[in-house]
């Protein structure tokens, strides 16, 4: 299972980087979402997967068969933060589109060109 998920993480990162390098800002945001989720999965996988075991001590399970709860807690936090960031960047993109009427990253040269 870990191997499959590890490959998935790799695929998501690849797709994310590809989308980041596209010219459209919307595709760029989709790249951000891919990267964000790839990272979340990576953190989730970091403690290893222990299938079919509870994460919390309920008094009956022995400690040897417990899933590590910490990465799950971390990933929950990270997902929420990632969601907030994506919402903000979407709002920013909308505002940017309203002001400039363009979705092309190549048009973003104004701040760098003038001396």
């Amino acid at each position: 299972m870990e191997v499959i998920l590890a490959i998935l993480v790799g695929v998501l990162y690849t797709a994310g980087v590809y989308m980041l390098l596209r010219r459209s800002i919307l595709k760029f945001i989709i790249g951000i979402i891919f990267m964000s989720n790839a990272t979340n999965l990576l953190v989730f996988l970091s403690a290893g997967l222990i299938p079919g075991s509870p994460a919390f001590v309920d008094g009956t399970t022995t400690t040897a068969h417990l899933a590590d709860p910490l990465p799950q807690a971390l990933v929950l936090t990270a997902i929420v933060i990632g969601l907030g960031m994506v919402v903000f960047i979407l709002a920013l993109k909308y505002k940017f589109f309203e002001v400039t009427g363009t979705d092309d990253l190549d048009q973003l040269k104004q701040t760098d060109s003038q001396k």
Partner: protein, 496 residues
């Protein structure tokens, strides 16, 4: 000790209070007085530290390393103190200089959430908690940088946001892998586990992810592009706030991580840090020399100065670390001061372009004096703060035999001097260009000078009392280089 959490709680309470008191009249008091309260509290924390040793607080009633630990040592206390001094200056500056389309209450709200994130990053002893504070800081800065919604601001905002988000992902990936390898995210616990670690290659995979992530935040050599692309776009009060604080948080975390627990492969890391430091200094300095817009010159100049801080970390002797800390503190004050001065020039003349301004020395000698202090401090002219900071770094470089980086640092000092003298000559000494001369310059109110005067005084005092600051930074450096005390205090609540 509960008071350790207050640097986070005070700005949080202030931000909440700003949701209740939404009139500009009240905010004029809440902003500066709140910043002053944070400053006074940081000072009291610093003196507490002197008597009681390293202060810790385990959140949620768990024991370390399971609890999220808040730790205040000398480095954290110094950063808290100087950053809150900058908060005072910028909060006063914002009252006078924010344009009408940015409401003061809204500015102060994000100002204080930014402070909360920054203070949290300074005092946390947990890697994941650090990530959370970074995000708090980032989202506040995203809002601040796009406030006003001008076209170039949105453009700069997108660039700023893109690279900083990428940095956050790398940070998160690094901490995930680190947790997988060590099973802990408490910094002191990590330090204890990694002290005798002999799998340097394995640890380097995490370390490099952290390095790139913090390198993006600190704007070191190959990763700095977002900074000059975005820092000149927002209002000058916001730029000054960012210039003084944000990159320095990145430097702080680099110093913390690479002295506390990533100490395994010293040969590789210190060489890498020195190479990057040299390139950062030179590229920043050269780019600054090629521009004629004050905000751009100063933005590139931030990058150049980050190189000095990284250089101290790369040399890695107590004197060098102390020099890096001293330099960071001095740079926060002087850099913010220089940005405030450029904002005041722009208010008088209506433009940031040096070609179009001039004759300010005759018109406004007070501003000239107040500009020359931070500018010469940045260039490293004695007896101002920058001289002693550079002196410590260069002495450490010669003592440890790192001659190349020392030479680069000295030569970059000339580039800095050149940029500062360029602003001085163009804005103050040369005559007002003819085509702009009919424009009537705006007179400044006495209150406009106060923030810059505070920072200039602080810079002068840091130079005059350099011996005291030196002793304190040396103590901070000793705590960093020999982290046994830190680890013992955090993990076992032992007070030495």
């Amino acid at each position: 000790m509960t008071i350790v959490a207050l640097p986070i709680l005070i700005p949080f309470a202030l931000a909440i209070s700003l949701l209740v008191f939404r009139t500009t009249k009240v905010c004029r008091w809440v902003g500066p007085l709140g910043s002053f309260a944070i400053f006074m509290f940081s000072i009291s924390l610093f003196f507490r530290l002197k008597t009681d040793g390293i202060l810790t607080l385990n959140m949620g009633g768990w024991d370390a390393p399971f609890a999220i630990v808040l730790v205040v040592d000398y480095l954290s206390a110094l950063m808290l103190m100087v950053s809150s001094l900058i908060l005072i200056a910028v909060s006063l500056f914002a009252i006078r200089f924010l344009p009408d389309d940015i409401p003061l209450p809204r500015f102060y709200f994000f100002f204080f959430t930014l402070t909360m994130g920054m203070n949290g990053a300074f005092i946390t002893g947990d890697v994941f908690n650090l990530y959370v504070w970074f995000e708090v800081m980032l989202i506040s800065s995203f809002v601040l940088i796009t406030m006003g919604k001008k076209k170039e601001q949105l453009e700069g905002g997108i660039k700023y946001l893109a690279l900083n988000l990428l940095g956050s992902f790398l940070f998160l990936a690094g901490l995930g892998l680190l947790y997988g390898k060590t099973g802990t995210l408490n910094m002191a616990h990590l330090a204890e586990i990694l002290k005798n670690d002999n799998q340097a290659t394995l640890m380097n995979t995490s370390a490099i992810l952290f390095f790139v992530a913090f390198g993006i935040k600190a704007a070191v050599f190959p990763l700095f592009f977002w900074l000059p692309a975005s820092y000149h776009t927002p209002n000058i009060a916001i730029t000054s706030l960012f210039a003084g604080l944000l990159t320095k948080v990145g430097v702080y975390t680099l110093i913390r991580f690479f002295t506390l627990f990533f100490v395994h492969d010293q040969h590789f890391w210190h060489n890498l840090l020195l190479i990057i430091a040299g390139l950062t200094m030179v590229t920043g300095g050269m780019a600054a020399a090629s521009y004629y817009e004050t905000r751009r010159i100063l933005s590139y100049h931030i990058i150049s100065q980050i190189g000095y801080m990284i250089m101290g970390l790369g040399i890695f002797t107590p004197l060098a670390i102390a020099g890096a800390v001293f330099f960071t503190l001095h740079n926060m004050i002087a850099k913010t001061g220089a940005f405030l001065a450029s904002g005041m020039i722009a208010k008088i003349k209506g433009t940031y372009h040096l070609k179009e301004v001039g004759g300010l020395y005759k018109q406004n000698p007070l501003l000239a004096v107040l500009f020359i202090v931070p500018a010469f401090a940045l260039a490293g002219v004695p007896p101002l703060s920058g001289f002693f900071a550079k002196f410590m770094l260069i002495k450490a470089g010669i003592e440890s035999g790192s001659y190349i980086i020392t030479t680069v640092a000295l030569l970059t000092g000339l580039l800095t001097l050149y940029s500062m003298i360029k602003i001085w000559n163009e804005a103050f000494l040369k005559k007002q260009p003819e085509n702009q001369a009919n424009q009537k310059p705006i007179k400044l109110n006495w209150a406009d000078y106060v923030p810059l005067a505070i920072l200039a005084t602080a810079s002068v005092l840091m130079g005059i009392f350099a011996a005291t600051v030196f002793t304190v930074t040396m103590e901070a450096a000793n705590q960093l280089i020999e982290p046994t005390n830190y680890i013992d205090t955090v993990l076992r609540n032992k007070t030495p």
